[in-house]
């Protein structure tokens, strides 16, 4: 199925992700005197990159395979992050600055007397997991249902996704909204009783993140690799034609859109646990646009490319902002332009030496253009 498409390496990437996070996790547990000890700083960075890789994977699913250029996917990432953040804040309990066992610090500071109803149950980890999945999926479902059935597409849809994340950012900035205003949620102590600052918890979390990212890669590969995947590509390339075959493209897009939002949300939750803070800045439209650049750099429609792009661009950002902080945005812009001009298929296109897949350039004599690819 889809023999010629270039997402076959996703399972290889999944294995590499698990191995690398395993090595980092073990390395972080070595004594500080060891020359190959992985510092807590690097562990935090690695955790952040993996979370971003989830976001990139989510973007690639809808942009690469359904042709929906989302410029608001960080909204789902941040919502997942806030759902996990709520649980982590409740875990602090009486250890907060105000020592209030029932209310998070920011609510005490706002002189709130009781928890708002939407915080009920947030002290239970399973509830946090449920919120992390249901809220972003529900929002994505509602948004997608409205947008796709009205046949909003292309640049108009991109603009609405920007508006969505911007509106959420403004809402979350409000103190009265009940999520800590512009400070967001932070000062977390532990998760399920494990100290978040312990090297063992960090090592475990990084390895779990690696497993989850690998799982998401395999799940995404399954979704795009089967008959649904063929339909998805058909909708991307000739949407109206699929209608005359009896398909409802809006349902196809909605399904992959919600799936993608859930992957982004899980990424957000992993981010909060490892980075230790979530604030409304995560909803900033620029974050969603950056995620699109990661995917473009890695290679759109390849799954592995999204992961590689997210990790490499963020690694570049970390290094670049340390040397020349004010130049980073120019660097990012230049990177995007260079990719568009010289590497239309991103790094994956370069690595695999794939011929151009544009149909007009596939010569009829070649029976199976990419058949030799492993």
């Amino acid at each position: 199925m889809n023999a010629s498409l270039s997402f076959r390496g996703a399972s290889v990437t999944a294995v590499i992700v698990v191995l690398l996070t395993g090595v980092l996790a073990v390395g972080s547990l070595l004594p500080a005197s060891s020359p190959v000890q992985v510092s807590p700083f690097i562990m935090t960075l690695a955790g952040k990159y993996l979370a971003y890789a989830m976001l990139a994977l989510a973007v690639d699913l809808v942009w690469g395979f359904a042709g929906i250029l989302t410029l608001g996917h960080a909204a789902f990432f941040a919502l997942g992050g806030y759902a996990m953040g709520m649980y982590l804040v409740r875990e602090i309990g009486a250890r907060g600055v105000y020592g209030n066992a029932d209310l998070p610090d920011f609510m005490v500071f706002l002189s709130w007397k009781s928890l708002p109803w939407y915080w009920w149950g947030s002290d239970h980890f399973p509830v946090a997991l449920l919120l992390m999945l249901v809220v972003p999926a529900g929002l994505a479902g509602l948004f997608g249902w409205l947008a796709f059935r009205s046949r909003v597409s292309g640049v108009y849809l991109s603009i609405i996704t920007q508006a969505l994340t911007y509106a959420l950012m403004l809402a979350f900035f409000q103190n009265g909204f009940g999520f800590g205003g512009n400070n967001g949620l932070t000062d977390f102590k532990d998760i399920l009783g494990f100290d978040l600052h312990s090297p063992y918890t960090r090592a475990g979390m990084l390895f779990i993140s690696g497993l989850i990212l690998a799982g998401a890669l395999l799940a995404a590969r399954y979704v795009v690799g089967g008959r649904f995947g063929s339909l998805l590509i058909a909708v991307r390339d000739a949407e109206s034609r699929t209608r005359f075959l009896g398909y409802r493209p809006e349902q196809v897009k909605l399904l992959v859109w919600v799936f993608s939002a859930v992957i982004a949300a899980i990424g957000g939750a992993l981010y909060v646990i490892q980075v230790g803070i979530i604030n409304p800045g995560e909803f900033a439209p620029a974050n969603s646009i950056e995620a699109v650049i990661w995917v473009a750099v890695g290679g759109r429609g390849t799954l592995s490319g999204a992961v590689i792009g997210a990790i490499l661009v963020n690694l570049g950002k970390t290094l670049f902002t340390a040397w020349l902080p004010e130049m980073w945005l120019y660097g990012l812009g230049a990177l995007f332009m260079a990719t568009t001009l010289f590497l239309p298929q991103g790094l994956m296109g370069l690595m695999r030496h794939l011929p151009e897949k544009r149909p007009s350039e596939v010569t009829p004599e070649v029976t199976n253009p990419e058949g030799g690819e492993a």
């Binding site: 199925m1 889809n2 023999a3 010629s4 498409l5 979704v223 089967g226 008959r227 649904f228 063929s230 339909l231 590509i233 058909a234 390339d237 000739a238 109206s240 034609r241 699929t242 209608r243 005359f244 075959l245 009896g246 398909y247 409802r248 349902q251 196809v252 399904l255 897949k357 544009r358 149909p359 007009s360 596939v362 010569t363 009829p364 070649v366 029976t367 199976n368 253009p369 058949g371």
Partner: protein, 246 residues
């Protein structure tokens, strides 16, 4: 509507920005019939197809397929009801293989959720093999459809139509850009298809229409100008004036 009618358009009109593309058009098709529709550019042939397949809603008039009112339905619903459409410009899914194009078209699963877990069955494989044989693309099955020649794409699209198992096929200019030999082969194929299904063919190519040897409807300015055998129609002075005489 009379009992022996598969498709019936009565007094259908549609206006785009003040231009009356279809003007009080009435037309009916018997079950099992093949009909050729001819007419000069702008006569409303493609708009008529759009109305039947749910792409365009008429301003007034009734469009019935058996007992169903097509003006109340959208494209997927009409397609599932058994009306297949072949476009003027072949539209196949270029990045998918020939085989996957056919698999997508096969009558049956249409729910995206079910497709998420569906595997190709032995029966589906056999149907695809049969279609590949009919459209003579057996050797091209594993190729990306985008790499096919123009004529091959036309045939693949016809194969996809057959895969849908529609009761009525709407075929828009199937031989545009084909060689003479391909044109005659396509006429044979359509006649073969017509043995089990009703067909409406829109075409400019008179040799092709003659080869089909079926009743002809001439459209002009959005309504029916003449109807009958090709020889009879082509001797009609009004037809000669607007179309053939040019």
């Amino acid at each position: 509507m009379s009992a022996g009618t598969l498709l019936e358009l009565s007094h259908v009109s549609v206006t785009f920005d003040g231009f009356r593309a279809i003007n009080d058009l009435s037309l009916s098709l018997a079950p099992g019939e093949m009909r050729a529709i001819i007419g000069p550019n702008g006569a409303g042939k493609t708009t008529m197809m759009d109305i039947i397949t749910g792409k365009t809603r008429p301003d007034t008039g009734v469009v019935k397929f058996r007992e169903h009112d097509l003006t109340k339905l959208d494209e997927p619903a009409i397609a599932r009801m058994g009306i297949g459409r072949k476009f003027q410009k072949p539209t196949v899914f270029e990045e998918l293989t020939v085989r996957d194009n056919l698999l997508l078209s096969l009558k049956g699963l249409r729910s995206p959720f079910a497709l998420l877990f569906a595997k190709e069955t032995a029966e589906e494989k056999a149907r695809i093999d049969g279609l590949l044989h009919t459209i003579r693309l057996g050797r091209e099955a594993p190729r990306q459809a985008g790499g096919l020649s123009h004529g091959q794409k036309q045939w693949l699209e016809i194969g996809m139509l057959l895969g849908q198992e529609p009761d009525l096929l709407l075929v828009d200019e199937p031989v545009a850009g084909m060689t003479d030999a391909e044109t005659m082969e396509t006429a044979d194929l359509l006649r073969e298809i017509n043995q089990t299904r009703s067909v409406v063919v829109v075409e400019h190519d008179m040799e092709f229409v003659r080869a089909l040897d079926v009743k002809v409807t001439v459209l002009h300015e959005g309504s029916v100008l003449a109807e009958g055998e090709l020889d009879q129609v082509s001797n009609d002075p009004r037809v000669i004036e607007v179309y053939l005489g040019r």
